[in-house]
């Protein structure tokens, strides 16, 4: 119960901190729109024949371009939350000099990650509601209630990403140029998860990596239910792969985080970066 209270307190602190920077909160909504959605829609529309994106229909089984982009954006934001709000936030605390006092509290170190996950999820839901509202109002986005069937896949992917965030935090606390590392790996992870295009278009050597990521299956399951796209694999197999990859990713992340923490305590490097 104490750990839960600590996690909620961390989440409340993160939410309060970010809400003080209105420009940053605004950019959480507008940046994805003008950097991803609008260029994607206009690029896709330039392949349209008589108003239908026939190429996309051939690729995924539906010509719903805006749905393809917006639902890819959900997973992209989920991944970004794990990388930036959870993983990278440890470096931010390090830079502010507040990591050592936090580390000295009797709270489990894992609670620090989970608290950030809760805060990150709050902003994720907030920004996605705003982005989807813009999509429905201005970009012809249609939302079907069947998309709710994808909720279990999203929950599993979130658990896997919390595991990944432990691993990222371990790396961030161990390297110097964490910003570049998080920026590049976030991009690669999201791309390999198929948020921008189906992973079948990745070069052959990269496809095994894509199929090892839980988010690849979560993206595909979400699009199947929300848009009626053709599945990459049998949906039962996709769920099985999602469960297995989550079961693998979570303990690996926890183990890496514990190892990094132990190493930092022994070497006394917690305040160094």
């Amino acid at each position: 119960m104490d750990e839960l209270r600590a996690a909620v307190a961390i989440a409340r602190k993160d939410i309060r901190n970010l809400s003080r920077y209105r420009l940053v909160v605004g950019s959480m909504i507008f940046t994805p729109l003008y950097q991803g959605v609008l260029p994607g829609l206009l690029f896709g529309a330039s392949f349209a024949v008589a108003g239908r994106v026939v190429g996309l229909e051939k690729t995924i089984g539906t010509d719903d371009l805006s749905g393809f982009i917006f639902f890819g954006g959900v997973i992209s934001s989920l991944v970004a939350t794990a990388f930036w709000a959870m993983g990278m936030s440890f470096r931010n605390e390090q830079e502010m000099g507040t990591l050592e006092p936090t580390w000295l509290t009797p709270t489990s170190k894992s609670t620090l990650v989970i608290g950030r996950a809760l805060g990150g999820m709050f902003w994720l839901v907030f920004s996605q509601i705003a982005i989807f509202s813009v999509g429905i109002l201005f970009f012809g986005l249609r939302v079907r209630w069947e998309m709710l069937y994808a909720l279990p896949a999203l929950v599993l992917a979130t658990i896997a990403l919390v595991g990944l965030a432990h691993l990222l935090a371990a790396i961030v606390l161990s390297i110097r140029d964490a910003n570049l590392f998080i920026d590049c790996t976030n991009f690669l992870f999201a791309t390999a998860s198929g948020v921008a295009f189906p992973v079948s278009f990745l070069p052959g050597v990269l496809q095994p990596i894509a199929f090892a990521l839980p988010t690849t299956y979560a993206t595909d399951i979400l699009r199947q239910h929300a848009l009626g796209t053709r599945p990459l694999l049998d949906p039962v197999l996709e769920y099985a792969a999602l469960v297995v990859s989550t079961i693998v990713m979570f303990p690996i992340g926890r183990w890496a985080f514990s190892a990094a923490e132990r190493r930092m305590r022994v070497r006394g490097t917690i305040g160094q970066y």
């Binding site: 420009l23 940053v24 605004g26 950019s27 507008f30 940046t31 003008y34 950097q35 609008l38 260029p39 994607g40 206009l42 690029f43 896709g44 529309a45 330039s46 392949f47 349209a48 024949v49 994106v53 026939v54 190429g55 996309l56 229909e57 051939k58 690729t59 995924i60 371009l65 140029d177 570049l180 920026d183 590049c184 991009f187 690669l188 791309t191 921008a196 295009f197 189906p198 278009f201 990745l202």
Partner: protein
């Protein structure tokens, strides 16, 4: 006297460029990003293009060709992203240099020197030429290694000339942004916004005929639009130097307009900052 001041300003300009070069050298990990992003960003958009075209469905490709004038999606995207990377370098580098000086507490010291105010405004922009040239080289190699496309040497040469001819206009845009930063303070979200808007207007990933009429009209006042269009013409449509001449002349004219605008905005904001004591605050 004027001569002496001009020579001193020139020396200060070179010193400012050397300072930027030295900072660039001290952070070698920046080079990783300068290879990663110019390759991966456009490569992903090429794959998006393949997905949107149904893996090269003839109807989709014809539609794209009708709007862009080419079916060469790969070069089309890579040229667009060469401009995107250039804009990023301009806006994140010299565009935020005044702000960085403000945060490190060196802006007041620089402004106390007797050099022309144009030195801190234009000095740091000189070194970005190195990044831009490096990125163009990386992208040319990436197009060849990842997609097997060898750029025609005449087109590549002509594109390089277009880049050289557009330097004054592009750096005038960068200087205008840098001057405005004195007013805004926090730069991160503003850089993202300006870069995002310019990317949308200038057809980085899509043909600008896809934009509504008013946005196309705005795009015609932006130097990157002409640079991207000229490079695409040179590389994809075998345009001759004569074909590109009108665009180059427009770029020179825009360099003048943006240059004068940057200097004027900078002077107005500097005067205001001196009056309000904003120079050292952030």
């Amino acid at each position: 006297m004027t001569d002496a001041f001009t020579r001193a300003d020139l020396r200060a300009l070179i010193a400012s460029a050397r300072a930027s070069l030295r900072v660039m050298r001290r952070y070698p990990t920046q080079w990783i990003g300068q290879i990663f992003w110019p390759v991966l960003l456009p490569a992903v958009w090429v794959l998006i293009g393949q997905a949107y075209s149904g893996g090269g469905d003839p109807r989709a490709m014809d539609a794209f060709a009708a709007r862009s004038g080419t079916t060469g999606i790969t070069v089309f995207i890579f040229v667009g992203y060469a401009m995107y990377m250039w804009l990023s370098t301009l806006l994140w580098g010299p565009g935020t240099e005044l702000r960085r000086n403000q945060m490190t507490g060196t802006l007041e010291a620089i402004f106390l020197t007797p050099v022309s105010r144009l030195v801190p405004l234009f000095g740091p922009t000189l070194t970005t030429v190195i990044w831009t040239a490096f990125q163009l080289g990386v992208m040319s190699i990436a197009v060849w290694l990842l997609f097997g496309i060898v750029l025609p040497w005449q087109g590549a040469l002509l594109s390089l000339l277009v880049v050289v001819a557009s330097l004054p206009a592009m750096y005038a845009v960068g200087a205008l942004f840098a001057a405005s930063v004195l007013k805004f303070g926090e730069t991160g979200p503003i850089v993202q916004f300006v870069r995002g808007m310019l990317s949308l207007l200038c057809g980085i990933t899509f043909p600008i005929v896809m934009l509504p009429g008013w946005a196309q009209a705005v795009a015609t006042a932006m130097p990157p639009t002409y640079v991207v269009a000229s490079m695409r013409d040179a590389l994809l449509k075998d345009a001759s130097p004569l074909d590109l001449l009108p665009s180059v002349l427009i770029l020179f004219a825009l360099a003048l307009v943006f240059g004068v605008l940057a200097i004027t905005v900078f002077r107005v904001l500097e005067r205001s900052a001196r009056r309000t004591g904003m120079l050292g605050r952030y």
